[in-house]
């Protein structure tokens, strides 16, 4: 009997959380399109999410491209398919690795920061103060972050695509002895618009999810420093899981035969 009660309780909690998240998402999205708007706050978030994430996203991309070239070479050399390395690098980077790895890095950097900032505002009554100052917290705190996440992660991923391919080029040309012109030709030859676009669509969704998880967990944090800590952890973990799950769904939507 107790087992059933425990299962029921977990299920009810899951439904409650899902409903609360759905309401939060709906309300937040509705405030993105309804005035008043806060362009200064949007600009600040764009700089935070986009500009300040570039170093970490760039470093991740360059090393990923380098490792990918090395690994591909050691594998493809076994059946004399070294010429496919450039294509493998560019397709892997644009379709999968740049959006997913950039998403995970930004989830750690931005999702955690959002949860901590909004969570601290919650437990120190700053969000209550916003309401008493006739300012909607969804509009002021959440909407600019969601919009900035949605806009800026694709920009970061576009940069990561270029840097990642450049990382593969560096290793292939300078370490593995490929001809630069041939490598670049192979890179472009099989690259299609859909490869880049699917990665950017993924990045837009991931950016939105990262900001949503950061804001949601921060907004509902309780109980002082410990609550803010939990909100930060939950924001990063849930954003990471959602990134990986939605990555599959978007890949299925774009490339399933």
């Amino acid at each position: 009997m107790r087992l059933l009660q425990a299962i029921g309780s977990v299920f009810l909690n899951f439904l409650t959380s899902t409903g609360r998240l759905a309401l939060f998402t709906g309300l937040s999205v509705s405030h993105i399109v309804r005035p008043p708007f806060y362009p200064r706050l949007l600009l600040r978030q764009i700089i935070d999410i986009g500009y300040y994430s570039l170093p970490v996203v760039g470093l991740t991309a360059v090393f990923t491209g380098m490792v990918l070239a090395l690994q591909s070479y050691s594998g493809f050399a076994r059946f004399n398919a070294e010429s496919a390395i450039a294509t493998v690098v560019v397709l892997s980077i644009t379709r999968e690795l740049a959006p997913v790895l950039a998403g995970l890095m930004v989830a750690g950097r931005i999702g955690a920061a959002m949860a901590a900032e909004i969570g601290t505002m919650r437990v120190t009554e700053q969000i209550d103060a916003l309401s008493t100052l006739s300012t909607n917290p969804y509009k002021y705190l959440v909407a600019p972050r969601l919009l900035a996440g949605f806009i800026m992660l694709p920009c970061c991923v576009l940069v990561a695509d270029i840097i990642g391919v450049f990382g593969g080029y560096l290793i292939s040309v300078h370490k593995l002895g490929f001809n630069p012109a041939v490598y670049l030709k192979n890179t472009w030859q099989f690259l299609e618009v859909i490869d880049v676009v699917s990665g950017l669509v993924k990045a837009g969704v991931f950016g939105f999810l990262i900001a949503l998880m950061g804001c949601y967990h921060g907004y509902h944090s309780r109980g002082g420093a410990q609550g803010v800590g939990s909100a930060t952890t939950n924001a990063v973990v849930s954003a990471s899981i959602l990134i990986l799950a939605s990555n599959y769904l978007i890949t299925e939507a774009f490339f399933a035969q």
Binding site: T124, Q126, D128, A129, L133, T135, Y140
Partner: protein, 262 residues
Amino acid sequence: MSAAPIKIAIRGLTKSFGEKHILRALDLDVRAGESLVVIGASGTGKSVLLKNIVGILTPDSGSIKIDGEEVVGVTGHARDRVNRKLGMLFQGAALFDSLPLWENVAFSLMSAHRIGRPEARKVAMECLKQVGLQKENAERFPADISVGAQKRVGLARAIASGPEILFFDEPTTGIDPVMGDVIDGLIVKCVKELGATALTITHDMESARRIGDRVAMIYEGKIVWVGDVDRIDSSDNEYVDQFINGSIDGPMSALIAGNEGR
């Protein structure tokens, strides 16, 4: 005083959190232009009462009317319109730590009243001066100033838009008695200058005597006594007597024991 119209009318206000019943059909009137102080021990529902009035919490049942207009269940722009009449000083000041002090003070002017930054800054500087802060402090951030100064800035923010009703949540908690006296003096001065109605919640009797025209005592989610501040020592109410004398023995002993056990 009794001829003044009712500014805030609360009837049958009930609020529970799960099995815990905080407000139990509470009735209270605040007259226009008066300063009413709600006193009571920790955990008796003072903060919950205030948060229900300003719309941070939604009551389970009951009515709250401000200027005769029902505000329970009112949301969106209608609630914003009501909130433009209100100003509130939070217990911990609740200043926005990402903004400099002057922007904290000018926040509602720029955000809700859509006043331009230069003009809002002028008003903010005037308000900071009113609460005794020099203009050199305007560009500092909340983390760079003392708790007492934060309360001053919180007060400046509360009065910046010239509200009709001011709420003060434990204004002297967390500061030394001298600063408490200063904050109380500023509250009285600001309320008088604005001609506002004020509702303060506190457990500090010295502060209640300095700020209030009338005092209401809350216990177990109900108002158990209301009267003029100069009648508080002769109220003949056992709850009030126990509270103002700080006595362990009395009708609130069970609550005190419960609070200690937390």
